[in-house]
């Protein structure tokens, strides 16, 4: 996803001179072209995220459209107050790009995992929180972020995530995309869980359970009507995310369902409320945390069969 983001942003920068890219000393093998193409619009701000976000706010308040980039936890948590006061409170046109959502940074460990970022970012007023489901969505989300005139948090994968969308979907911030039809259960996915959800749905289809799969790429503002439609038209709803159970997509979806008075069978498929303890790659960490396609299918099957 990181590459698609970079390629798309480069194109957008050629068209729109107000776009700037600021990085917190990251982007080796990804941003070299920006350096050469736009020496006056690309800034390596050093390992200094708090300052970088404050500077971005100042640039935005002076008519620029800065994108700030770092590893997801560093560009959200390290500088959270700058994001809140300087960017969100002033509704500044700053795009915060976090590479490495979830366990993308695998063996680098919990300091580099982003499993609480959705929760804290969606707690802030004015910001749009976008977690593209595949490289196609990453590219479309980048274009949408440019068009948007306020704060956006763009949560990217870091690795070569598989392409899920075989043709370009209609992409609008705040509007979920339905990728698969089905009325037995709904899988509402955000970020890189999209591919696992599709695979899980195919496995379940073999067992006679037809799943609707929705890419909820925008967690804030949440597409409530798609959630309520799923609760109305299917027999069970599952939220799926590579993020903590606390405060992420699952929380957002359950808030909507609870307040609607819907009696729907609902379950959050997410990470437990703890730091990863065994080391491993993203794939391994997904597996032991029951986020593989197989585990998702099993959870859905068991829940649908037992009714809880």
């Amino acid at each position: 996803m990181r590459k698609q983001f970079a390629d798309t942003l480069l194109c957008e920068m050629k068209k729109n001179t107000s776009i700037l890219l600021l990085t917190g000393d990251l982007g080796f093998s990804v941003f070299e072209e920006f350096m050469h193409e736009f020496p006056n619009r690309f800034f390596n701000m050093g390992v200094a995220e708090a300052n970088m976000v404050g500077v971005a706010a100042g640039l935005a308040l002076s008519g620029k459209k800065p994108f700030v980039y770092s590893i997801a936890p560093f560009v959200t948590m390290r500088c959270y107050e700058q994001v809140r006061n300087d960017v969100c409170y002033q509704n500044a046109d700053v795009k915060i790009v976090g590479a490495g959502g979830g366990f993308s940074y695998g063996v680098n460990g919990p300091t580099h995992h982003a499993i609480s970022d959705i929760a804290i970012m969606r707690a802030l007023p004015n910001i749009v929180v976008v977690c593209p489901g595949d490289p196609v969505e990453a590219s479309l989300a980048t274009i949408a972020a440019v068009k948007n005139k306020g704060p956006v948090y763009l949560r990217l994968g870091r690795n070569e995530e598989p392409v899920v969308h075989l043709k370009e979907p209609l992409f609008e911030l705040g509007k979920a995309i339905e990728l698969r039809k089905g009325n037995d259960a709904s899988l509402i996915s955000t970020g890189n869980m999209l591919n696992n959800c599709i695979t899980a749905a195919e496995k379940l289809s073999g067992k006679g359970i037809e799943c609707r799969v929705v890419s909820m790429h925008t967690v804030k503002p949440l597409d409530k009507s798609t959630v309520l439609k799923a609760a109305k038209e299917t027999k069970a709803v599952f939220s799926v995310e590579e993020h903590s159970l606390v405060g992420g997509l699952g929380s957002a979806v359950s808030e909507v369902l609870a307040e609607s008075g819907s009696p729907i069978l609902f379950k959050r498929i997410a990470l437990p409320d703890k730091f990863a303890c065994k080391t491993g790659s993203q794939k391994y960490l997904q597996k032991i945390n029951l986020l593989s396609a197989e585990s998702i299918a099993e959870t859905v099957l068991k829940t649908v069969e037992t009714g809880h």
Binding site: D25, L26, N44, G46, A48, A50, G109, P110, T279
Partner: protein, 283 residues
């Protein structure tokens, strides 16, 4: 500080530069091997600080691998956590855990992350990995030592890149305000950070003067000259009531000719041929 070494009678600490040098070489060999076998990044950053770690662990730190939680032990924090292969190796060579445990590095179902986690093996004093945290934690440990009238010293190794972080300078202000002369910071100044040369990314110079003006007693050394390193590390505090700062001028990737001073070795791991060449050079 020499008399304090006697405090740790029976615990291996050497004045023999040759012995420390050999350990530095062994750290380098293991670090390259770990990167080769697992594909781990940051081999350049680990090689850069191999001599500093060898000096600390074999000649300076009053620590007993048999009593890793001894209240009187000196503390070391690797604030530049990405160089942890060098720290894991130093700890293993020093006897904190069997070398075989290094196999748990950077693999599925393993035990050793690519950044230090307190408690993952004996001897890791603090969890780091996001830059700009170690000096503050070190202040806390040094302050506790002062409050409890303990004689231990606290050493924190920073990267030059993390001197970009505001928190590093917040810690700098506080350490001298609190007159923590039991705290020593070391900067592994290889002048090459994650995405460029330090003087091109955010210029740190004049670095010594900056730390002096923040109230540190500063010395500059050649970070690959063990004599200079050991001498400086053993003469802290340089001044009473002041934290000490050792600016160690180093070379990223030191010891492997084709890695030296090359940005790509912040990320890359050696292939078969490169590994062989590195091992030939590290003899």
């Amino acid at each position: 500080m020499k008399q304090l070494i006697g405090f740790w009678k029976g615990v291996f600490l050497t004045e023999d530069i040759k012995a420390v040098k050999e350990n530095a070489l062994n750290i380098r060999r293991k670090v390259v091997e770990m990167s080769y076998k697992t594909g781990a990044s940051h081999v350049g950053s680990s090689l850069s600080c191999a001599d500093i770690l060898a000096a600390l662990y074999f000649s300076v730190l009053r620590i007993d691998p048999k009593k890793p939680s001894d209240e009187k032990r000196d503390r070391f924090i690797l604030s530049k956590g990405h160089a942890v292969p060098a720290l894991y190796t130093a700890l293993a060579l020093r006897g904190f855990f069997p070398e075989k445990q290094l196999e748990g590095f950077h693999c599925d179902e393993g035990t050793l992350w690519c950044h230090p986690t307190r408690g993952c093996v004996a001897g890791i004093e603090a969890t780091t990995g996001s830059l700009g945290h170690g000096l503050s934690i070190g202040i806390g440990m040094a302050l506790a030592g002062k409050l409890d009238k303990k004689e231990y010293m606290v050493f924190v190794l920073l990267s030059d890149g993390e001197c970009d972080e505001g928190s590093t300078w917040e810690a700098g202000l506080e350490a001298s305000h609190l007159k923590l002369d039991n705290l020593t910071a070391i900067i592994d100044y290889n002048k090459l950070q994650a995405f460029g040369r330090t003087n091109e990314v955010v210029n740190l110079e004049p670095l010594s003067d900056k730390w002096k003006s923040f109230g540190f007693s500063v010395r500059e050394v050649d970070g690959h000259n063990l004599e200079q390193l050991m001498k400086a590390l053993k003469s802290v505090p340089f001044e009473k009531n002041k934290p000490s700062m050792i600016i160690a001028n180093t070379i990223k990737g030191k010891g492997v000719s084709y890695m030296e001073n090359k940005l790509k070795w912040h990320y890359k791991s050696p292939n078969d041929e490169e590994f062989k060449k590195a091992m030939q050079e590290l003899k």
